[in-house]
Symmetry: C2
Subunit: 406 residues, 2 copies
């Protein structure tokens, strides 16, 4: 559909799904750009996403000072509050009603693939009812699992945390040698777990730095092979640091968590709860204690940490991520200003050294309810990532603290 | 015993126990000061503490350049490698033999109360055998549980991590409201768990910021009271963030972990393994899911994270901690240079605003094998810390990232 005359009315912004360290950069970018948009009267915010909007929990964002906006941009988590609701058509009809009630003509939703799908349904319902509502999805997810994009805002900051955590923890595990298992977020996509590889660095001897083994949801996990892998590294180095995605599955697609842990909670969509529990790490520890042996035939020292929610909220974001998260939101508003009726935004990498990216418009249906996985060229064997992935991830992380061994 | 003539010989430094973010600052401080000590020929390092020393695993630290030393100082974890060995008299006799073999006259051991005890025994055995060996303990522990000291090097950096983690996680939990339990290190002393309180900040509305409940090992933990506490906060705010020490105990001194989790590993000293397992958080989550209700009578969203080893190795140390960790080590070497035969070092707080501290000599027996707990004036009721504790902890943390709510 070609661009058309711009309707006059209010704009609204919502934040959805798991927060990130830079989702407020996107909120602030959208507000800043909307301030320059003449067709927009008020700039509103949904409290807790569509859940708040349908209950008239709406705030005026246009009055926030530039200084306050900059402070909010630097604050992790969703300043407006977030929502886990996955609206169906009936729910989306209520969203459209709320938009009519608040004279909303421009709808911006910051979130993952579910949020893009919500945008799509809301847009369709409004269109078919003859209400002009322009809907834009602003991408966000620490999982990096959105289609069409080189990477997604939120991912680089979480990846920075994971890389820093593995680098420091590897030194801790070299101080008091043992087997150390770290469980990383990512139900279906292994990007965040893979980011641990950046902890190895590139200096002399870095080939022996942790993580020594990396297990992704994209590669079928076999408990026997796992034990063999750990034994091999332990025999060579006297220690072994392991990165495990919370979403690792066996060859039949069954989550390893359900094989090792009993009585797990399921969410409204029937998914087993993976984050906010320590069971997978403890289960894998037990496997190592039972089957891996030191040279004296005893079980090695084994510890497991589950990095949990700090991965998505740690207040030390990647500078590139901060910039891009703001940029995608501004770009989405510019699409609206150009007369587009709907869309999402992808990040395109133009150059790796020095890193340079740009934004491009994509369709809501390009992203909606689809999941991107680690491509085969980013994976090496059954327990590592490729050199190509290291080249992909490195520029996104920002400068990492230097660590020096004796 | 009055200061006496200084024996000529080598000096050795070792690192012991759980590493910290600043234990290498102490290593570097000792090396730097020893370079000015005319009676010292070689500056040696033990690989993995006394365990390496007794196997002749000794390195020459005197050749490291000033630039390399500065880089090592900024690197978390024990650069020399650490040890969990708790030497008895026979083991200490072997240590003295190794010292004789390597012509060591000055012995510096960086560690907690067990390390101080090792220093004491080694010193006594050497003395009684007529071998002049001067033994100094350089304090280190994230638990902050050494006697006589205002606080211990290593603690402030771990406390900084905990405070930052709670501040960011509280916002995450406000974005998607629920009950969030975070388990913090500290087997017997609650200082590190208590540091979570610094996350609340002091601005407008900060009285509603997390953590809302703080459970320390010093206060008997009652599971029924816990559930009542959580329900009360949840009823008021619709969310609840909880800080729990891994070492919480019931009124009879029984670890809550052992009540909630089966099949726990015990270490060589018969202590149940508390770190590197997620069981306590998961057990407390189950309690909340069973007994706490939302206004609609359902179980609230409950998540638990166990912060684990990142607390002691996160590469963003407190600047005061970095300075003091280097300072205590230099002070210990200066004691040796003044002719003292043994000793440990305590930090004295001179002023809180602006913060100022100094070092003083204490005896090995002041620290050896003793544990300091949170004093009553730092504790408020059964689930909080006092204002006095907040005043105590705040200057130690360094500047924390500012976080702004809508």
């Amino acid at each position: 559909m070609p661009p058309t005359a711009l309707p006059k009315g209010n704009a609204i912004i919502g934040q959805s799904g798991g927060p990130t360290a830079v989702i407020n950069q996107s909120l602030v970018g959208a507000v800043q750009q909307l301030k320059t948009f003449k067709s927009v009267k008020k700039i509103l915010g949904m409290r807790h996403g569509v859940s708040g909007l349908t209950k008239d929990q709406v705030v005026d964002l246009g009055k926030l000072s530039a200084a306050t906006l900059e402070k909010i941009a630097l604050t992790p988590s969703a300043a407006l509050g977030s929502s886990r609701d996955k609206p169906d058509a009936a729910y989306c009809a209520k969203i459209v009603e709320a938009c009519k009630k608040h004279d909303i003509r421009y709808y911006f939703y910051i979130g993952g693939n579910d949020s893009s799908d919500t945008c799509r349904i809301v847009n369709e319902i409004a269109n078919s009812g003859g209400y002009e509502l322009r809907c834009f999805h602003i991408p966000k997810t620490v999982d990096n699992d959105l289609m069409m994009s080189d990477h997604t805002p939120g991912f680089a900051s979480a990846a920075r945390f994971v890389a820093m955590a593995f680098a420091a923890d590897a030194l801790d595990n070299a101080s008091l040698p043992g087997v150390k298992i770290n469980v990383v977020m990512g139900r279906h996509a292994g990007f965040l777990t893979a980011a641990s590889a950046a902890a190895r660095g590139t200096g002399k001897g870095s080939e022996n730095n942790g993580p020594h083994l990396i297990y992704l949801p994209e590669v079928p996990f076999d408990t026997k092979q796992f034990v063999t892998d750990v034994q091999k590294v332990y025999d060579k180095l006297g220690r072994c640091q392991i990165a495990v995605s919370e979403g690792i599955q066996d060859k039949d697609g069954k989550p390893i968590t359900t094989l090792l842990v009993e009585g797990l909670e399921k969410d409204a969509h029937g998914n087993v709860q993976l984050s906010g529990v320590g069971g997978l790490g403890d289960g894998l520890s037990d496997l190592v204690k039972k089957h891996v042996k030191t040279s004296s035939g005893k079980a090695p020292r084994v510890r497991a940490d589950t990095f949990g929610y700090l991965q998505r909220c740690w207040p030390d974001a990647s500078p590139i991520d901060q910039k891009e998260a703001r940029g995608v939101a501004k770009f989405a508003v510019k699409l609206a200003m150009k007369g587009e009726r709907s869309g999402s935004v992808a990040i395109v990498r133009l150059k790796n050294k020095p890193y340079k990216s740009d934004f491009k418009q994509i369709q809501l249906t390009d992203v909606a309810a689809k999941t991107r996985h680690m491509p085969p060229e980013f994976i090496s064997g059954t327990n590592d990532v490729s050199k190509k992935f290291i080249e992909y991830i490195t520029p996104l992380l920002g400068k990492l603290p230097e660590m020096t061994r004796l």
